[in-house]
């Protein structure tokens, strides 16, 4: 049996190994992904993001417990930053998820950000595909809030929960980071903190200011997108726009969490009813093909250009004999893999 077949057969060991292969971009990864791809598309992808320590892992733990009570299976992908100095990472999200231990309907995987942001988004998307093919109903992706990386990851989620903690949402920091724009559901966690009410009010006020309907859809469709989707208009009308709920939870006691899960289900239904699900899917595919094309063509081209030739060009540019654009034209004309 191939590794992909074992994954489809329900082997958790094979699933873990397939994720490693994909994450490491091992030689076997393209074959594994290709074999699994036709089995993807079942899971609901739920992104959970927010500043460090807001309670994302604790909330994922509770969400997963509730989803299990509803008979759904859950995979968790918990992403933590790699140290830029050492290349190592401490992945500690499992500490908050011990209640999920011993449940064969749950699979938890920790992942370090490793290389560049774009690379992270791609690795995450590929690991999510493996989990999706393995048949989980929900895939919950936890990422630490730091700006562009969650925007990239949110593009792969169907529903994005942004977690705030009391005392943190009362300034414009959240808006600056673009975090509010990616939220489908805003959660103020640590509702046992008396300041939670103030934070909820501040976030509601910000949403009223920042959401005249269409900014939301545009941010989800991604900035890189150049292809128009068959003339479909991505902007939802006033009538069918999703209203981002601001909710409170106590991720230690679980209070408020079932209501969040209900909103996740509502949001999924909304995406289906409005056609937004299909639009986001198309946007995601376009982005992915776009990125894969760039990677592939770039790699093929660089393979063909001899190092000496590159060095010569760099030297000529340094002597101001050629502009960089001219050098590129010469190199592409001589070595392009496309004829």
């Amino acid at each position: 049996m191939t590794l992909a077949e074992e994954v489809l057969g329900g082997s958790r060991r094979a699933l873990a190994r397939a994720i490693t292969a994909v994450e490491n971009q091992a030689a076997s990864a393209p074959e594994v992904l290709a074999a699994l791809f036709s089995h993807t598309g079942h899971a609901h992808l739920l992104g959970v993001t927010g500043a460090p320590g807001t309670g994302k892992s604790s909330l994922v733990n509770q969400l997963a417990l509730d989803a299990r009570k509803a008979g759904k299976t859950v995979a968790v992908l918990a992403v933590d930053p790699t140290s830029p100095f050492t290349g190592g990472a401490i992945l500690g999200d499992r500490i908050r998820m011990r209640e999920l231990a011993g449940d064969s309907g749950v699979f938890i995987r920790s992942m370090a950000t490793r290389g560049s942001l774009g690379g992270l988004a791609r690795a995450t998307a590929d690991v999510v595909k493996v989990l999706d093919a393995a048949g989980f109903d929900y895939i919950m992706i936890e990422t630490v809030g730091a700006g562009q990386s969650e925007v990239d990851i949110a593009r792969h989620a169907q529903t994005t929960i942004v977690v705030e903690a009391p005392g943190m949402g009362d300034d414009v920091q959240a808006i600056k980071a673009g975090i509010l724009e990616i939220a489908d559901i805003l959660v103020v966690n640590k509702a046992d903190d008396p300041r939670a009410e103030t934070t909820v009010r501040a976030l509601r006020a910000m949403l009223d200011l920042a959401h005249p309907g269409d900014a939301h859809a545009v941010s989800h469709h991604g900035m890189l997108m150049r292809v128009v989707l068959n003339g479909q208009d991505g902007a939802p009308t006033e009538a069918n726009a999703w209203r981002v709920p601001v909710m409170t939870t106590n991720a230690l006691s679980g209070e408020g969490v079932p209501e969040v899960l209900t909103q996740v289900v509502n949001h999924r239904q909304h995406l289906r009813d409005t056609g937004e699900m299909a639009r986001r899917e198309m946007a995601r595919i376009i982005n992915e093909v776009d990125a894969a094309l760039r990677d592939r063509l770039m790699a093929d081209l660089l393979d063909r250009i001899p190092n000496s030739e590159l060095e010569t060009m760099v030297a000529r540019i340094a002597r101001r004999e050629l502009a960089p654009q001219q050098a590129v034209s010469v190199l592409v004309a001589a070595y392009s893999p496309i004829t």
């Binding site: 060991r13 499992r94 011993g102 938890i108």
Partner: protein, 134 residues
């Protein structure tokens, strides 16, 4: 473009409530470029095996200060084998009397480190062992 990182599960089985030693090790391994999955206090053998399997780690590092190593380590090793994780290296840190070490190694523990162990040494032992396997 394959990027291979050593993944280590650092776990604290047993009931004692100190994880300072485990955290020191976790940081040292991180600083050596490894990815450390840290699971916190009071892990049962089953929780450790489950996490090691899901995280597809190369190494399980157990920290046992309670003196319960002779009760815990053989049980964990048995479950490691039962789960088919024989290629995972298991190391043990704690206050371990010399006479227990051969028994632990017999049970499948690769290395035992005492409380004063130099973290650089632990890093090197792991790196050498993983490299030798590839």
């Amino acid at each position: 473009m394959s990027e291979r990182k050593i993944r280590v599960l650092v776990a604290k089985p047993g009931l004692d409530g100190h994880d300072r030693g485990a955290k020191v090790i976790a940081r040292a391994l991180r600083d050596a470029g490894m990815e450390v999955i840290y699971t916190g206090l009071r892990q049962t053998p089953d929780m450790i095996i489950e996490a090691a399997l899901q995280e597809d780690v190369d190494v399980i590092g157990l920290s046992i200060l309670s003196g319960a190593h002779m009760a815990l380590a053989p049980v964990i090793m048995e479950k490691v084998h039962a789960a088919g994780l024989d290629d995972v290296m298991v190391i043990l840190g704690g206050i371990i009397p010399d006479e227990d070490i051969p028994i632990l190694k017999e049970a499948g523990v690769s290395e035992v480190f005492g409380p004063g162990s130099n973290t650089n040494h632990i890093v090197k032992v792991i790196q050498d062992s993983i490299r030798a396997r590839e």
